[in-house]
Symmetry: C2
Subunit: 309 residues, 2 copies
Amino acid sequence: MNLTFRQLKVFEAVARNLNYTNAAKELHLSQPAVSMQIKQLEEQASTPLIEKLGKKLYLTEVGLEMQSYARSTMQQLVDLEETITQIKSMERGHLKLAVASTANHFVIRLLARFSKVYPKISISLDVTNRSSLLELLEKNECDLVIMGRPPQGHNLQYAPFLENPLVVVSSPTHFLAKKEHVSLQELANEEFVAREQGSGTRGAAKRFFTEHELDFKTKMDMSNNRAIKHAAEEGLGLAIVSVHTLELELKAKTLTILNVEGFPIFRHWYVVQREGKRLSPIAMVFNDYIMQEADRLIEDFDIPLFKSP
Amino acid sequence: MNLTFRQLKVFEAVARNLNYTNAAKELHLSQPAVSMQIKQLEEQASTPLIEKLGKKLYLTEVGLEMQSYARSTMQQLVDLEETITQIKSMERGHLKLAVASTANHFVIRLLARFSKVYPKISISLDVTNRSSLLELLEKNECDLVIMGRPPQGHNLQYAPFLENPLVVVSSPTHFLAKKEHVSLQELANEEFVAREQGSGTRGAAKRFFTEHELDFKTKMDMSNNRAIKHAAEEGLGLAIVSVHTLELELKAKTLTILNVEGFPIFRHWYVVQREGKRLSPIAMVFNDYIMQEADRLIEDFDIPLFKSP
DNA sequence: ATATATCATAAGCTAAATCTTATGGTAACA
DNA sequence: TGTTACCATAAGATTTAGCTTATGATATAT
């Protein structure tokens, strides 16, 4: 059976009016045009849909089924159009994000604000490690990723949108925590709890030490940022972490930022997408949003870069 | 938005394969034909439905909506076809009948048998009076009507399909009930409980009396056949009724058929339809069925036309 | 009986749909 | 780096859809 929407539309009008002439008027058509559409539809169904008794029209049993089909299909089409319009106008839609676990904290804040502006947009947020992020981009399973500087050679398109200050932290009871200034040499004498090999933060720290011809002595490495901070709290060593992950510990005064010469190291957070990816409207808006709003957001954090006097 | 089923069909194949070339093979089309359909559909939606990243295809958010719409609509079409086929083959369908209240009893029996042959057919049965029956036909609100001989001038088409013997009944205690034979003169001396003016049964009885130049004395008339029988049971008078309504009373021996000269009067039950009405397949089959089966059914009734010896 | 309303049919025109072949461009892969 | 796989685009041919006007047929109403 090879129907057309036109046939259904015309049939629906006839079935509702039970009158070809009026249906024709409603559709701004000539009456024969309506007759023909109905005839063709009946040919497709190979059974009559409408019967004429005297002057009146009646729907056959099959005609009733056809009417129900026509209405349902046309209503669904209206719904589809509505949905598409909503998606386009961002009254509806879904934003698929993934963030590096260290970025989680401030991204959640960003999302909370964004979501107030676009309340109908649902969001999925994958918080995971660097390699998984790259994989998600590769598989086109997310719109945007927020992470440190992405590696080359993955056909990625990215832009920095926020400074990411790395600072040295220690337990407040650590002897360096009591000093107003810490020299690089003093720092180099300490042992560190660090992220695993391949981590962006660790790479940055290592580069910093190398540039200053110092040793970077790691006592432990682990993949979880929270674990690293906890280890530092417990006095297992110093740690170099993004200040954006420290809000809670600073407030609770379980960690102290050391005022080390040359710190903070300023890296950046990047918003990353696959090269050639046409962002959905909402993803594009989110991209613009974070470009504009990120700095303002961070100001609101009220995190001192160095320990209070 | 002015979609075509073709576009949806092609889109569905592409969305499923995520590959234009394979979709084209599946549809026995050239690959550019598929490209064009998708392009047109995207124009209709005025938004991309499919995005190509590297070599792979992905559905956009709108693409997913479109896929869901396409699948739903196509599935509904399959269902519609199935339904139409079933209606045509009478595996499904609805039969709208209406019967005169006096015919109710044996029609129910007919329907019980018919329904066993066509178990998937649902039936609606309207039991009502003569004028309502004609109105139902007029409004095309039923397929077939079963009643006594219909009046002229209603554009009706009808055929007798069963003898309808009218008999005289009385309470078993009535003095005529004890006689082997009852003459017309004896009958004419009695008073009757009869149907209302306009009733077919009453008309037939009246005609019978007139033809024999006798008086038809009615003591009461009422519209309900059951009430008439009850009145006769209670000795309010004789009654002339269709033997087909008597099964219960004969079994319970609350009424007796009088062996009156010239009785039973043989009238007929008719199956009636509107002139020019194209019967639905199932109505046509039912029509044929009662033409063939009615006599056999009545034999099974095992109703003696006259009181048992 | 005549007029009116309503649907069916025929003829003819136009625009749109749909397909094919040929060819161009690009990403992946060896 | 060349090859392969795959989609896009162009050009052109054919068919089909869809419409209108004119006219015919029929049932109802006057």
